[in-house]
Chain length 219, copies 2
């Protein structure tokens, strides 16, 4: 076994440390955050920290470091109160990674990548046309993380869009495999998952039961 | 396109809503949290909310609802100050799901599943022997989420264990495919990801570059 302790982590070369520590929590969600500024300039940025916080109301968290590339995203969310979360498709992971390049604030990543903005209902922030699953979010609360200066942005889901109704199963299960949603490991690796199994609610002293295939995947 | 708005979410049947909203953030990390109480009783529980918060110091977050099955995990973390995070292997996802069954507090999930506890160095909380990547965590801070009563537990990584040093590439990249780490979607679906690509640092007006294969995967 390889053992690494706190002191070894503190003494690591910067790039080695961020590669390592960004990799150890496991696979991460792969989303594009779409925002717009008060002059109509759009911004699109890849995030791997989108996290479920609750279903009723539907609360979603996002961790960011406002002093870095996420500055546009942060400023736009705070100024307008709205943003979108869009799943990264497996066939466009290169374009998604390109949104992490440090463009000047007045340049839109929509103009520099394969992604196209689309406006749905009266929602002000741009969605990503190419994403099978898109969320319109309202900013709720900003929670500063004292330990390292990062910020947890909490938002409430206002509008949820699926490119195809068949992505949602009879019981509300979302078929991410069929949506071709990617996931991320570390800072720069993109993956496509395949379902191993979907299980029924687990009960004490009873073997875990696999769900029938028609519940696992859409026909 | 299928459109679902805030009101439709509020009016959904409970199970449909939690399936749906737990699915829309994308793939989630798949980890087992190991804890021990003051009498030496162990606990093991599956979590899909483990999130990277920072690399220096190495900070990891965990969202939980202390009134549910996670009660043991929460109590043990608060009382002892220590816990472990262990990757769920793709070949043991059924056993991992079984840890979500509501066993009485005095019953250890280690005795009811295929997972075995292992104690490493002087760390008090049990690790999972079968996990290729294991983390020993020290409780740092508890952040109450006012909007819905959930709690964000922040911890600092103290000890990091890899079953094989080859899981860490030359530049610190962690090969989760080789570790057979699973990921989760929704409440009950487990997946095994395959890498699509790993990219170099993105720069403005420059095509995204793929890393050579020996950086993407271990030899």
């Amino acid at each position: 076994m390889l053992h690494i302790d706190t002191q070894a982590i503190a003494e690591m070369q910067h790039l080695y440390r961020i590669n390592l520590i960004n990799g150890i929590t496991g696979y991460k969600s792969a989303n594009l955050i779409g925002t717009i500024d008060e002059d109509g300039g759009t911004n699109l940025a890849v995030f791997s920290s989108v996290t479920h916080f609750g279903s009723n109301p539907a609360l979603i968290g996002l961790v960011l470091r406002p002093t870095t590339i996420a500055r546009n995203t942060y400023d736009n969310i705070k100024k307008t109160g709205y943003y979108t979360i869009n799943h990264i498709p497996g066939h466009l992971v290169g374009a998604a990674h390109h949104t992490s390049a440090k463009y000047d604030p007045e340049i839109s990543e929509f103009d520099k990548t394969a992604f196209n903005p689309v406006y749905l209902k009266e929602f002000s922030a741009p969605y990503v046309q190419e994403s099978a699953i898109k969320m319109g979010m309202e900013f709720l609360e900003e929670i500063p993380i004292k330990a390292n200066g990062t910020i947890l942005i909490l938002g409430q889901l206002k509008d949820l869009w699926f490119s195809d109704a068949a992505l949602v199963a009879e019981d509300g299960f979302v078929d991410l495999n069929a949506a071709d949603t990617a996931c991320i490991s570390g800072l720069d690796a993109y993956h496509r998952p395949s379902m191993l199994d979907r299980f029924h609610y687990a009960r004490p002293d009873k073997a875990v039961e696999t769900m029938p295939m028609d519940k696992k995947h859409q026909p």
